[in-house]
């Protein structure tokens, strides 16, 4: 089974992608999509080293929802900042200690940071212990760090079944949103 279908989830994603790409759920498309969904992982699975490791799917869905909302919100914030007087922006680069572990979780966190509020992740330290973040406007770096850790890192720890450390002190916010 492992040989024929090394990555079942990926295969499923690919099949769906195929159908989306073809705008079609005709039998022909499904057959073709299935073939492709079987063959492609067979070529690419050796590259797959991140592992899946998602433990809490409901948390994942919730996370996606939050992020989507944040993205839209953040964009309006950024819009105001861009259109406004840029001189007043207090822009800064700061380092964020990571409690999260693993390539995929860290990457997702970094991506989230970039897509949401006025922050961009700039560099994951080689030891994967810290993340450099740039904020377009932040009065105080520590506040930003806390927000990120509580809002995203903690959730990601939960999704990937890691001991939650970041948001432990701020149980209120967790409660408010779940």
């Amino acid at each position: 089974m492992k040989r024929v279908l090394p990555q079942p989830v990926l295969s499923l994603v690919l099949l769906i992608s195929w159908l989306v790409l073809n705008n079609s759920i005709a039998p022909g498309s499904i057959v073709m999509g299935a073939i492709v969904a079987l063959i492609v992982p067979w070529i690419t699975h050796r590259f797959w080293e991140i592992g899946a490791g998602v433990k809490d799917f409901t948390a994942l869905i919730g996370y996606v929802g939050i992020v989507l909302v944040d993205i839209i919100q953040a964009n309006f914030v950024v819009a105001r900042q861009v259109l406004g007087a840029n001189r007043s922006l207090n822009s800064q680069l700061f380092e964020l200690e990571l409690d999260l572990e693993g390539a995929l979780p860290i990457s997702i966190l970094a991506a989230t940071i970039t897509l949401t509020p006025g922050t961009v992740s700039c560099r994951v330290s080689p030891d994967q212990r810290s993340l450099w973040v740039h904020a377009l406007h932040a009065d105080d770096a520590q506040t930003e760090i806390t927000t990120i850790k509580q809002r995203y890192e903690a959730r990601l720890q939960r999704i990937f079944g890691q001991p939650v450390t970041a948001g432990a002190t701020e149980s209120t916010s967790r409660g408010a949103e779940s």
Partner: protein
């Protein structure tokens, strides 16, 4: 076969014998001589038999077409003239072979010598026996080549090399002129056969092209026969071994020019032009040669100039243009051949036995070699024109003729006077030859102790000297019949009456002879002051100086012009190429103008414009990006980025104007190109230096503007015209004939699949070529970035690694999608190939080459080869059905669930395309990427080749 066709054998025999001689010398030192002698003897016998059989039929000719288009035939002719010359060549040749057998020293290669000599003999026979004019020129040039080899026989001697090249240059030039002349002559007559040419004398002489033909032919004659001002090669040719000098440079080759005068006498002679050119050249040569001969200290030098003088004499005779003069000329040819060959051989014996030919060192040899001395004296008296020797007779005829024609050439006394002066000089140098060598006081320290040579070395001379005497005493009996036949051959009619008797009574010619003899003796007796005067004045005049200057000029011109044009610089090459193309384009445009009013493309405006301001702005943006790339190209990375904008813009234009396939191709090629250039840039300076001057940059900008403007104009003129093409067919046939709705793709894989096949070969070849180039290449890599900072040593960014893992399968899926739909929708093998390749390359960028290699392990060469073979195989499969290469087939299937499936074999072809694209792109990029393995770190590389200003590390130096 008719017997006369055997004439060709006479000519070819020496040529066949030549390699045999060279080869035989490996076994026995003298075998080559035997071969040469044997071949000559056989040729002589054969020729004698032929003459015997055809004596009453002459002239007879035989001819086989060789290159009809050029009028060339392999044809030979037997008449009096050719008979006389053939006899001369073979008889003297035989004697020379015998003589040379003894002459050459143990260090000399016999094989080469006789091989060359035989080649020369054959060439000479070819010249005199040719019926076809071009055939004649072929052999004529061969005599020059053989002579080159013979003169340079002692190649370690500088003067031999010089003499050989000099002779080749002069006689070669003459030969080419002769070729030109002969071609024109044949053109006038309408035939290159001598029979026709000789019969067309009047036609030729009245033709417009007579003068150029005559001048070109005479150039050949004068160079070969060492006529002034081309005489100077002959003395230098004396660097050859003496047998060669005797044979080529007195008896035969130099007579080839004279032969030609005789040969063309009926066709060309008699006009004013002929008389003026030929006789003045002859007279000048006659006098100059005689004068110079007197002052040569080298025996062979003296003989060489004497030969020049006598050749001048004969030329002068032919120059008179009268039939009797021609008779005298022919007679003197025979006489000169006998006495001059004898004298050369005598000089050779002296050289051979004493080790020197310098008359200032020689003397009194009569005591050591009386026999040789006697031979020398007899031959010298013949040369001086002493009665009872053959030279006297022809000289008397010469004097007679000069008196006869004197009236028509300047004052009546002038020609006889000059002619007598020449005679006088020849008496003086003949006397010097004999006296300085055999009489007087012997110089004490000759290199060798002189004695008589081996007998066989003298036999040939004996024979010739006897002939000199026999002809001199009993001319009518000994030479009369031969001369008659020869003269008939020259004139091509029965000759006029002439007398061969010794005594014609007291007359002006006799007086001239007496004056010449007495004056010559007197001159020799008072030689010392004259020699001193000569040494101070004219001795420094040397025609070689002119030649050397000319050669130097040629070398300098050659080197100069070549260096001027071919500088080996790319800028020059490109400039010439572009300028030529521009000129050609403009010329092409201007040529038809004036033939028809050309409507101005701008006025047309009839074509509906389908643009909008978005497009115009987009185009403006691309123009801007292109300009920026150009202007700021020295910041290489920046230029790369702006060029990427250009690429993106071009893709957008394709998309905008209904070319989705092109847009996709352009996009994917763009990114692959960018990666490629980045990979390369790592090993190159990050900035270009400012190497050209402002003037040069303005010039280049001007050229660029002109060419760009031209292209713009051309484009606009074309696309604002209405137009009809063959494309309707493709639209009609795409579905029924090609089985696909995406016409572009159907064209690519079916209608013009063969183009595509060539194109993937190009791609594969690029991969192979790059692979080959990169093999073993090591390059200093820059340790610093464009701003002088050292690159980071960070590992591969985590986020990149993670996300490319997710993107890879998606991108591959997209590639498959693009490939599969290609035949019906925009897409296809190319684009899919490039997409897949770039997705894979992204893995390499994200994970590093080592990791990626380990994981992917692509058999790239295999993919490439398989792709080519699949494409080829698809095409070949059709040939199995008896239809041409690449004929596509289609099939319809109806499968349950899936429904209609329409397959065209062209899809298999497209698969080949896909694989080749993937294979070669990966091959190129990965091999370039792997370069780092071999990279030699060059710590100061940036510092050397880029000039980052110190402040530029701060900010903004790349703008």
């Amino acid at each position: 076969m008719q017997a006369i066709e055997l004439l060709a054998i006479v000519v070819l025999l020496p040529f066949f014998a030549a390699p045999l001689a060279a080869w035989s010398a490996r076994f026995n030192r003298y075998a080559a001589a035997w071969v040469a002698g044997g071949a000559t003897l056989v040729a002589l016998a054969l020729f004698a038999w032929l003459v015997y059989g055809h004596i009453d039929l002459m002239p007879v000719a035989t001819s086989h077409a060789w290159i009809e288009a050029a009028g060339l035939s392999f044809g030979f002719r037997l008449d009096g003239l050719s008979m006389m010359f053939t006899g001369l060549i073979l008889v003297i040749g035989l004697l020379i072979v015998i003589y040379a057998r003894y002459y050459l020293s143990p260090g000399d290669s016999m094989g080469r010598f006789f091989a060359y000599l035989l080649m020369f003999m054959g060439a000479m026979l070819g010249v005199v026996l040719s019926e076809n004019l071009i055939n004649l020129v072929i052999f004529w040039e061969l005599t020059s080549l053989a002579s080159f080899l013979l003169i340079s026989y002692w190649q370690h001697r500088k003067e031999a090399r010089y003499g050989a090249r000099l002779a080749l240059a002069i006689t070669g030039a003459g030969g080419l002129a002769l070729l030109g002349g002969v071609l024109i002559l044949g053109h006038i007559v309408g035939s290159y056969e001598l029979t026709d040419v000789l019969a067309a004398g009047e036609l030729i002489k009245n033709h417009d092209l007579y003068a150029p033909a005559l001048i070109l032919i005479l150039l050949g004659v004068f160079t070969k026969s060492a006529q002034f001002p081309f005489h100077f090669w002959l003395p230098n040719a004396m660097a050859a071994p003496t047998p060669v000098s005797a044979y080529l440079h007195s008896a035969t080759m130099v007579k080839a020019g004279i032969f030609l005068l005789a040969r063309f006498f009926p066709a060309l002679a008699g006009t004013d032009l002929w008389v003026i050119i030929v006789s003045s050249a002859g007279l000048a040569t006659f006098l100059l040669g005689a004068y110079t001969a007197l002052f040569r200290h080298d025996l062979k030098g003296l003989l060489a100039y004497s030969t020049i003088s006598h050749l001048g004499l004969i030329t002068l005779l032919f120059g008179f243009g009268t039939q009797l003069a021609a008779v005298a000329g022919i007679f003197h040819i025979l006489n000169h051949a006998t006495f001059k060959a004898s004298l050369f051989m005598v000089a050779g014996i002296v050289d051979h036995e004493t080790g020197t030919r310098d008359m200032r060192r020689l003397g009194g040899l009569i005591r050591f070699m009386p026999h040789t001395a006697a031979l020398g004296m007899i031959a010298a008296m013949a040369m001086a024109g002493v009665p009872l020797f053959n030279g006297f007779l022809s000289k008397e005829m010469f004097f007679t003729e000069s008196v006869r024609v004197a009236g028509s050439m300047g004052p009546v006394w002038l020609l006889p006077l000059l002619v007598s002066l020449g005679g006088l000089l020849s008496v003086a140098y003949s006397l010097r030859f004999v006296h300085d060598t055999f009489f007087g006081r012997p110089d004490g320290d000759l290199p060798k102790k002189p004695h008589e040579p081996p007998g066989m070395m003298k036999r040939p001379v004996d024979l010739l000297v006897v002939l000199c005497l026999a002809v001199g005493i009993l001319p009518a009996l000994v030479i009369g019949p031969l001369l008659h036949i020869a003269v008939t051959g020259v004139l091509q009619t029965e000759p006029p009456y002439y007398s061969l008797s010794l005594w014609h009574g007291f007359n002006i010619p006799l007086l001239m002879s007496a004056v010449a003899l007495a004056g010559g003796v007197a001159l020799y007796l008072m030689r010392r002051p004259i020699f001193r005067w000569h040494a101070l004045s004219l001795a420094h005049l040397d025609a070689r100086v002119v030649y050397n200057r000319l050669m130097e000029l040629l070398m300098r011109t050659g080197a100069g012009v070549t260096a001027m044009v071919d500088t080996g610089r790319l800028g020059r090459i490109v400039l010439f190429t572009l300028a030529f193309a521009f000129g050609a384009g403009i010329l092409g445009y201007l040529l038809p103008l004036g033939l028809e009013p050309v409507r101005n493309a701008v006025e047309r405006g009839a074509t509906p414009d389908n643009g909008d301001w978005v497009t115009w702005l987009g185009i403006g943006l691309i123009i801007l990006a292109a300009m920026v790339t150009t202007v700021w190209h020295r910041q290489r990375l920046f230029a790369l980025i702006t060029m990427s904008v250009v690429g993106l813009g071009v893709a957008m234009i394709f998309a905008r104007f209904s070319a989705p396939d092109l847009a996709m191709t352009q996009l994917s090629v763009e990114v692959v190109t960018m990666i490629l250039l980045l990979l390369a840039l790592f090993y190159l300076p990050q900035q270009s230096r400012k190497l050209s001057t402002p003037a040069r940059r303005w010039r280049d900008a001007g050229i660029a503007t002109a060419i760009g403007g031209g292209i713009s104009a051309l484009t606009y003129a074309i696309i604002s015209r209405p137009f009809e093409s063959i494309s309707g067919y493709f639209l009609d046939q795409s579905v029924p004939g090609g089985g696909g709705t995406n016409v572009v793709n159907v064209i690519l894989v079916d209608f013009r699949g063969y183009d595509t096949f060539g194109e993937i070969t190009v791609l594969a070849l690029a991969g192979l070529g790059i692979f080959a180039m990169l093999k073993g290449l090591s390059l200093p890599a820059s340790k610093r970035d464009p701003f002088g900072r050292t690159w980071t040593e960070d590992p591969h960014p985590l986020m990149l690694r993670t996300f490319t893992q997710i993107l890879l399968p998606l991108t591959l899926l997209f590639g498959v999608y693009v490939f599969l739909r290609g035949h019906n929708e925009p897409g296809g093998g190319f684009i899919a190939g490039l997409i897949v390749a770039s997705a894979l390359v992204a893995q390499y960028m994200a994970n590093g080459i080592e990791t990626a290699e380990r994981k992917l392990h692509l058999p790239i060469h295999g993919i490439l080869g398989a792709g080519l073979l699949i494409a080829l195989g698809t095409g070949l499969a059709s040939m199995g059905f008896g239809v041409p290469f690449l004929t596509s087939a289609m099939a319809h299937f109806s499968l349950p669930l899936i429904g209609e499936i329409h397959l065209a074999s062209a899809i298999a072809f497209d698969l080949g395309v896909f694989l080749v694209v993937v294979g070669s792109t990966m091959l190129i990029l990965l091999n370039l990427g792997r370069l780092t393995d071999h990279a030699v770190e060059h710590p100061d590389y940036s510092a050397i080749e880029t000039s980052p200003a110190p402040r530029s590390t701060r900010r903004g130096n790349d703008a």
